[in-house]
């Protein structure tokens, strides 16, 4: 093949500029630690890298949600924990006030303590989160959920439950309204509530009872009316829901358990003629009302000791229900907190593996790049040296 002079120059400069371009690209890759300088370097990896980046962003959002959830859950848990402690102390105080040997003055001192607790309870139920929102108001987090009206506490929040996505597809409830925890508590033993007639004159007291046969429950309210004739105490049972008599002249043994429509309870002491006791299905009451009822029983000096005992018994039973309700809510919060703890470590390792994957897609393999750099250097030097040598050999240089 005939080689013209321009071919020698074109070829030489072309191969030098190619080698230089390759060298420049490797340099750019090494200085930016990016394998792909633009999507065209590896279009498939570029598109995958975008998706992996989004995956990391989504996982980070979930991590944010996890810490927000932990934050809210632990605040609610701590508020409910204090509430539970408070209710326990209040229950102890109620029981101690039941003591028949106490004077009304002693009881008034207990009442004063309990009234302080009543205020504390309201404050706890109105707890706020770090940002100033009420913890137990549902969606209405800027409305004070529990307000003391005349005689009763009203709930101004709602039943909205806020959830956060703490893991893919897992929406965790992190805050809910306080109605369920503080306002809708079954009174009595949770199925039925007992009570003594406020005009009772005898020494009979009634306990809170228990369910002996769930299948026999009727959901009706009953009244036990006592009569005493000739030293014999008997009672009649009336179904006050239907207004019909259930049984009459039942023999009464103090302290013996009475079974009525699957409900078992005990009347102790000696009821007087005309005394009455009620057994009615549980209804919803607020924890505030329950405490207020107990305080009312202790502070009312005109009550007979037996009526007071029955009323305090009922209030204590109510307080146990309230404690159960709060424990249940705390258990729910606690198990969510545990779940978040587990999810947090899962998310952390997910982010790590996603970052590794992103690194594999986009980061430069320095060892390979360094080898490539020296190869390209050699190629450039070779091109330059050959160019120098070839262009020097010209016939004119031999002609004098």
């Amino acid at each position: 093949m005939r080689i013209s002079t321009s071919m020698i120059f074109d070829l030489g400069s072309g191969s030098m500029s190619d080698a230089q371009a390759a060298l420049f690209k490797t340099q750019e890759q090494m200085s930016s630690n990016r394998r792909m300088l633009s999507p065209s370097d590896d279009p498939a990896a570029a598109s995958t890298a975008l998706k992996v980046s989004q995956g990391i962003a989504v996982t980070k959002q979930q991590q944010d949600n996890q810490s927000a959830a932990t934050n809210t859950l632990s605040q609610a848990e701590s508020a409910l924990g204090s509430t539970s402690d408070l209710l326990q102390s209040a229950t102890q105080l109620l029981l101690s006030g039941q003591n028949a040997t106490m004077s009304q003055g002693d009881r008034n001192a207990i009442v004063a303590q309990l009234q302080g607790m009543q205020q504390q309870l309201l404050t706890l139920a109105n707890s706020r989160d770090g940002a100033g929102g009420y913890l137990f108001a549902g969606y209405s987090e800027n409305t004070q959920p529990f307000t003391q009206g005349t005689g009763a506490v009203t709930y101004n929040g709602d039943d909205g439950v806020r959830s956060l996505e703490v893991a893919p597809g897992r929406n965790m409830d992190v805050s809910s309204g306080g109605a369920d925890t503080f306002m809708r508590i079954k009174n009595g033993n949770g199925v039925f509530a007992t009570g003594a007639g406020s005009a009772n004159t005898g020494g009979g007291t009634i306990d809170s009872g228990s369910v002996s046969n769930p299948a026999a429950l009727t959901g009706h309210a009953y009244q036990l009316n006592f009569s005493v004739s000739g030293g014999n105490t008997t009672y009649d049972v009336v179904d006050t829901t239907t207004g019909t008599s259930v049984s009459t002249n039942n023999a009464f043994t103090p302290g013996a358990s009475i079974n009525l429509a699957g409900q078992q309870f005990t009347i102790s002491g000696a009821p007087a003629a005309g005394d009455s006791f009620t057994v009615s299905p549980s209804s919803n009451q607020s924890v505030f009302q329950m405490l207020a009822d107990g305080i009312a029983a202790l502070s009312n000096g005109s009550l007979s000791s037996s009526v007071r005992t029955s009323q305090v018994n009922a209030a204590v039973a109510n307080m146990y229900q309230a404690q159960d309700k709060i424990s249940l809510a705390r258990a729910g919060l606690g198990s969510n907190m545990n779940e978040v703890t587990t999810l947090t470590s899962i998310s952390a390792s997910a982010v790590t593996s996603q970052k590794t994957r992103l690194g594999d897609l986009t980061d430069l393999d320095y060892a390979a790049a360094t080898t490539q750099l020296s190869e390209q250097q050699t190629a450039l030097q070779a091109a330059q040296q050959t160019f120098g040598k070839v262009t020097k050999t010209n016939l004119f240089s031999y002609l004098a």
Partner: protein
């Protein structure tokens, strides 16, 4: 006597050789130059009784080392190479724009949805709401920044067409002139080598602008045609090209001629190769990218607006539009003669493609062509919906009228964030569920979804009353008040645009109510629904999320750029080979010329010796005569 003239003829031939060699050496770096050589022939011999005696040498002509096939091959390789080089250089602009993984639309989308998520963790916190407003504005400026850069690439492509047309016109004017000179020069019977080389160089330069075809005429001139036989140069006559607006889309500069004061566009598909071909090919990817970006912007705006509108803001009002983006654009061809106007609107965002469409009327039928793959659909009447775009027509079209429909071209450039007040973020549902205060069971009701479109009755009070543990009635406006519905735990019920979940074990007589979410500032339900749009498959017929669509667009640009780069490098090799073959024949070799120089120098010295010998012989005779 004859020895002297033979010597002189040798002297002349050697001098012509040296002269030609010098010319070659001088033009070693002249582009398009073909090396020349003298063609020597013997003079007609003289007959004498003793036979034919040679009469020396004469120079018949000066020829260039030339092969028209090799030159045509180089020209074709050049036109393709310039196109692919230009295409890959322009595509690299888009490619580099998408290159930075931390600055593109993708991280901005991630930031927007992270901001939605932050609001969901504390829905009434003004700081997180402000963060969302800022993220939305950043995204909007990201879209507009990216689209204005893309638009500037379009302007560059237009400018490169105009530039190429102007170069083409200058070249063709010179070529027409050269044609004339060559015709005159050739009439004498000899080839004007240097003029021919100049003309080849011009043709080579023209082929860098666009693919041309060259036809030789018997008179030595060449005729040059562009594309589909449009004459640029006929002999000594030049036809001026004009760069002008595409009749179907005036924002695109294309090639044509001006005739009778009116711009007549050539069919763009007929003009290929060179810088013009590169600009035309680049536009397809550019427009696909602009449309692809617009499609994401349009779908994002629509999905977020729709969810925002069914929500309730912090002021208790229904949500208002979060973003705005321009709808489809319709351009009637400037060649249309009918009175019809065409409108287009998006009726199904999930079905949108990144393509443009052409609506053509042939006097009977309407044909809608999807320009990305030339799929055609024919209709007897309008309006019609194609790929989620409803095309309507009013007025009367004439046969041959056409309209260009660009469903998403301007959506990204016009994308705006409308919310300025953080309170306007509709984080809550307008409706919430609650339980009756005297409920004895453990049942609970929760509104889990409010789905677009907005329902006028959404906040109407609705009561759900259990008449037994497993049956319930529903009353309220817009519900149809069904009775005796069967309850299963965890079931959902949907009325008035909301969906609620009933769970737990309600007791007979328990009631649940669904009603206005008054004061529900802590509700994050709607902002969660908005945040969930991040991964929702809202595009490509329900197969792609926003970032999927963006990733596809990026890999599409990457693939096309990579293909153009490797095509350009392959074509570079073809061009190098063709040039080498042509240069191998026509290029000047200084070594060769050095040898020729020696050769002719020696011939010249030898011929001088012949003259000196003849002189000596003549002197001898003169001496004899004068001595006698």
């Amino acid at each position: 006597m004859s020895i002297l003239s033979i010597g002189v003829s040798g002297l002349n031939a050697a001098q012509a050789g040296i002269s030609t060699t010098s010319h070659n050496i001088s033009n070693v770096n002249t582009p398009g130059y073909s090396r020349q050589q003298t063609v020597q022939t013997t003079n007609t011999p003289l007959f004498s009784g003793g036979g034919y005696f040679g009469q020396g040498v004469n120079v018949a002509s000066v020829q260039r080392a030339y092969d028209s096939f090799l030159v045509a091959q180089t020209r074709e390789a050049q036109t393709q190479s310039t196109q692919l080089d230009g295409l890959s250089a322009q595509l690299k602009n888009i490619d580099n724009l998408m290159a930075d993984p931390s600055a593109g639309v993708s991280p901005m989308l991630d930031n927007l949805f992270s901001a939605f998520n932050t609001v969901s963790a504390s829905p009434s916190d003004p700081a997180s709401r402000q963060g969302l407003i800022s993220a939305a504005q950043t995204l909007a400026s990201g879209f507009s920044n990216l689209s204005s850069q893309l638009a500037s690439f379009g302007d560059q492509a237009n400018a490169s067409v105009t530039q190429a047309v102007s170069t083409m016109n200058t070249d063709s004017a010179q070529l027409a002139q050269l044609n004339q000179q060559i015709t005159v020069a050739t009439a004498g019977g000899q080839q004007p080598n240097d003029l021919l080389d100049q003309r080849d160089a011009l043709l080579q330069d023209m082929s860098k602008q666009a693919r041309i075809s060259v036809v030789n005429s018997p008179d030595g001139s060449v005729n040059v045609f562009l594309g589909n036989g449009q004459p640029l140069v006929l002999g000594s006559q030049q036809n001026q090209l004009t760069a002008g607006p595409d009749p179907s889309d005036p924002s695109q500069t294309i090639v044509g001629i001006t005739s009778g004061g009116k711009f007549q566009a050539f069919n763009s598909a007929d003009v290929t190769g060179g810088a013009i071909g590169a600009a035309f090919a680049f536009r397809q990817t550019l427009q696909q990218t602009q449309n692809g970006l617009g499609r994401i912007a349009a779908s994002l705006a629509q999905s977020i607006n729709a969810q925002q509108e069914v929500g309730q803001d912090l002021n208790g009002n229904p949500g208002t539009d979060f973003f705005s983006a321009a709808g489809p654009q319709v351009l009637g061809s400037t060649n249309n003669t009918g009175s019809a106007t065409v409108g287009a609107s998006v009726s199904n965002y999930a079905a949108l493609t990144a393509s443009d469409y052409k609506l053509a009327y042939d006097g009977t039928n309407y044909t809608v062509t999807r320009l990305s793959d030339n799929t055609q659909q024919s209709f007897a009447s309008m309006p019609q919906t194609v790929d989620g775009v409803t095309i309507s027509l009013s007025g009367t079209p004439a046969a041959g009228d056409s309209f260009l429909i660009e469903p998403t071209r301007n959506a990204a450039s016009t994308f705006k964030s409308l919310l300025t007040d953080p309170n306007q973020v509709a984080a809550a549902f307008p409706v919430r569920a609650g339980s009756g205060t005297s409920n004895g069971g453990t049942g609970a009701a929760q509104v889990t979804a409010v789905t677009p479109p907005a329902n006028a009755n959404v906040s109407q009070p609705v009561n759900i009353v259990f008449t037994g543990p497993n049956t319930f009635n529903i009353t309220g406006t817009g519900t149809g008040n069904p009775t005796g519905l069967t309850y299963t735990p965890g079931m959902t019920i949907s009325y008035n645009g909301w969906t609620a979940t009933l769970s737990g074990a309600p007791a007979s007589g328990d009631s649940f109510n669904v009603g206005p979410n008054t004061g529900g500032s802590g509700d994050n339900s709607n902002i969660k629904a908005l945040a969930n749009l991040q991964l929702a498959k809202t595009m490509g017929g329900g197969t792609a999320s926003f970032s999927d669509a963006y990733a596809t667009m990026v890999s599409n640009v990457g693939n096309q750029t990579a293909a153009a780069i490797s095509g350009a490098s392959a074509q570079q090799t073809v061009l190098t080979n063709a040039t080498s073959a042509q240069q191998s024949l026509s290029g000047v070799s200084l070594d060769e010329e050095a040898a020729n120089l020696l050769k002719y120098q020696q011939a010249y010295q030898a011929a001088s010796k012949v003259i000196s010998t003849a002189d000596t012989m003549f002197q001898s005779i003169l001496q004899v005569i004068s001595a006698g």
